[in-house]
């Protein structure tokens, strides 16, 4: 199952929700659309499903142009953010809906519908709930019902809008793993929308990062973290400190903060031209050590243990910097010397 989107643009009044989006998925892939709210990811998903329409550009599914195909003929599974279960129908009837509305010739018999629905409910581990009404089950269970309902029509592509958005953290973690396994076992091709970078990086084969209606980078999680294409991607992924600076004389000079310059050779990414830049430095890319008053450039604000090290927050001339330090090395309020080992710089 492959999707190809080309030159997709969608405006709502004067604002462009999507600008010139190009995206291709491969069969069996799990793709995340990641971006802050208002970046257009849900609009893109809705256009794929036929629930919204592009002003220009094309959507092809399995090589077939979708512009004249209504939502009901696309055979795509769509899981809504709030699940949109039919409140007056039992769990069983919700899942059976897609089979019951088929034209008579393609509609399976009652026994076959029952068999298929029950198999799906079993697969979703909610077999015992078939007679319950949607309001009588928990959020996580509703999510599974919504998934089962979408899968009942044997969709060519599964689209999920913020699939874990309405769930609490504990349920979310469990369901994430389960959804990943389900995707693999059933050989689905799925596209899901999220604003949670951890969710995207953990689940997806490839992540498409969206910013203000544009698709700024689509890559594997590893590539995305290692080689962000723009300052936005670098800032959005991986909890990096963002500091203004200047590239000049073969080094990165920080502006407004007492940090020593970093030579170009130490930078993981930098524009070829000298000039003003935005530098991103992740927590593990700092070196922190206690220092006497004269050499210190930062103060420890707080720390908490995280795995084998301490996660520390330092005050660097008014900027809050997150870094890692050996456990027990620092005390709160202690003057420290903070030095970046590397950075990613993007032209500002």
């Amino acid at each position: 199952m492959s999707v190809a989107v080309r030159g997709l643009t969608r405006r709502f009044g004067p604002t462009a929700a999507l600008r010139d989006i190009a995206l291709e998925t491969r069969p069996g892939e799990f793709v995340a659309l990641l971006g802050p709210s208002g970046s257009g990811k849900t609009t893109l998903l809705r256009i794929l499903a036929g629930l919204d329409f592009a002003d220009s550009g094309t959507v092809e599914i399995e090589g077939q142009d979708m512009s004249a195909v209504p939502a009901r003929a696309r055979r795509l599974g769509f899981v809504f953010q709030n699940y949109a279960l039919f409140r007056h129908m039992s769990v069983f009837e919700n899942v059976a809906f897609g089979l019951r509305v088929r034209p008579r010739a393609a509609r399976p018999g009652e026994a076959e519908i029952g068999r298929r629905v029950r198999a799906l409910l079993e697969r979703m581990q909610i077999g015992a709930l078939e007679r319950r009404m949607p309001e009588q089950i928990s959020g996580g269970q509703r999510q599974r019902v919504a998934l089962a309902r979408a899968l009942a029509i044997e969709p060519r592509l599964l689209l999920l809008d913020e699939p874990f958005g309405a769930l609490d953290a504990e349920v979310r973690k469990g369901l994430r793993r389960w959804l990943r396994d389900l995707h693999t076992e059933m050989g689905l091709t799925s596209l899901f929308v999220t604003h949670d970078q951890e969710e995207a990086l953990e689940l997806a084969d490839r992540v498409a990062v969206m910013e203000a209606g544009r698709l700024v980078q689509i890559d594997t999680p590893e590539r995305l973290v290692e080689a962000p294409a723009t300052a936005f991607v670098a800032g959005f992924l991986g909890h990096a400190a963002r500091l203004p600076g200047r590239l000049a004389e073969g080094a990165l000079h920080f502006g407004g903060v007492p940090l020593p310059p970093l030579p170009r050779a130490a930078l993981r990414a930098a524009p070829a031209q000298d000039g003003p830049v935005l530098a991103f430095i992740r927590a593990h890319e700092w070196a922190v050590a206690p220092a006497p008053e004269g050499e210190a450039n930062a103060t420890l604000r707080s720390q908490r243990p995280a795995g084998g090290h301490a996660h520390v927050e330092l005050d660097l001339a008014g900027h809050v910097i997150e870094a890692e330090a050996p456990l027990g090395l620092l005390r709160v309020g202690q003057p420290c010397r903070l030095v970046p080992q590397t950075a990613r710089a993007f032209a500002a």
Binding site: A49, G50, L51, P70, A71, R72, A73, R74, R75, L76, G77, F78, F80, N82, A84, L85, F86, R87, H88, M89, F97, G98, R100, V101, R102, R149, A150, A152, I153
Partner: protein, 272 residues
């Protein structure tokens, strides 16, 4: 002595007392008076009074007419609610306000207007008469007037439910392969059914008691187009107070049974 339990919502005693007093004065005592009055006739006299052919015909017209009118109001009421909720167009607020006109208009004015319109020489009455359809001064006219006053009930009960109906449910139905008609029939209408039934019950109840807007267009021919409330007035004018109250009691009992039945249907629906 046990310590008094503290209530998180104080004022229960006072509010219940006021409510009961209010109900007593406005509803219970008048109803009791209505029930007591026909006792003067004795059981046989009461039975005779309410089973007169003219009374039975009037009761039949009032109740069947009201049910027919309420049923006939459901589709247009639903449509008006749908248009008001789902579309934005110039004049929407005007239409929204007009829906309540049957509430606000003095019923006699409505009755006169309908009569003028549907009389055999009226704007609509004349062409309909040419087609062989007589509206004014027939049971059809009675139902028409009842439907007129019932419309706002359907619209106003369905509207909030329709507004709260998530669009996603319809979109979900579409992605699952349902046609627009299937979506309306299987997703939208069932969600609206309880509201429609509630609106139907209110419209029917209002139509049963409707007097002013009906009597002008009805023509009030005994056995044909005479409604029960009019019969009560007729008996009052003949100083037959007990007889008038007897018809009132019969209406009360039938209305009560009707609302009970509709309530039962609603409860069954909720369980299904």
């Amino acid at each position: 002595m046990t310590p008094r339990r503290r209530d998180p919502l104080p004022g229960f005693g006072l509010s219940l007392g006021v409510t009961l007093l209010w109900l007593l004065g406005l509803v219970l005592i008048p109803l009791l008076a209505l029930l007591l009055r026909p006792l003067e006739l004795g059981p046989a006299g009461f039975w005779h009074s309410v089973t007169e052919p003219r009374v039975l015909a009037a009761l039949r017209l009032s109740f069947l007419g009201a049910l027919a009118a309420a049923a006939a109001t459901v589709p247009p009421g639903l449509l008006v609610a749908w248009v008001l909720v789902r579309y934005r167009f110039p004049g929407r607020r005007l239409l929204d306000g007009m829906v309540d006109l049957p509430f606000a208009l003095p019923t006699a004015v409505a009755g006169l207007a309908l009569t003028a319109l549907y009389a055999p020489n009226g704007w609509l009455g004349a062409p309909l008469a040419a087609l062989g359809l007589k509206v004014a001064y027939t049971p059809l006219g009675v139902v028409l007037a009842m439907a007129f006053v019932g419309l706002p009930f359907i619209v106003r009960t369905v509207e909030p439910v329709l507004r709260d109906l998530p669009r996603e449910a319809e979109e979900a139905a579409a992605t699952l392969g349902a046609s627009r008609a299937q979506t309306l029939w299987r997703v939208v209408l069932p969600a609206l059914a309880p509201a429609l039934l509630a609106g139907f019950a209110m419209a029917a109840a209002r139509a049963i008691g409707e007097y002013g807007s009906v009597i002008f267009i009805a023509g009030n021919m005994p056995m044909v187009s005479e409604i029960a409330p009019l019969l009560i007035v007729v008996r009052l004018e003949q100083f037959d107070y007990a007889g008038a109250a007897a018809v009132g009691v019969a209406m009360l009992a039938l209305s009560f049974l009707l609302l009970l039945a509709l309530n039962l249907v609603q409860r069954l629906w909720r369980r299904a």
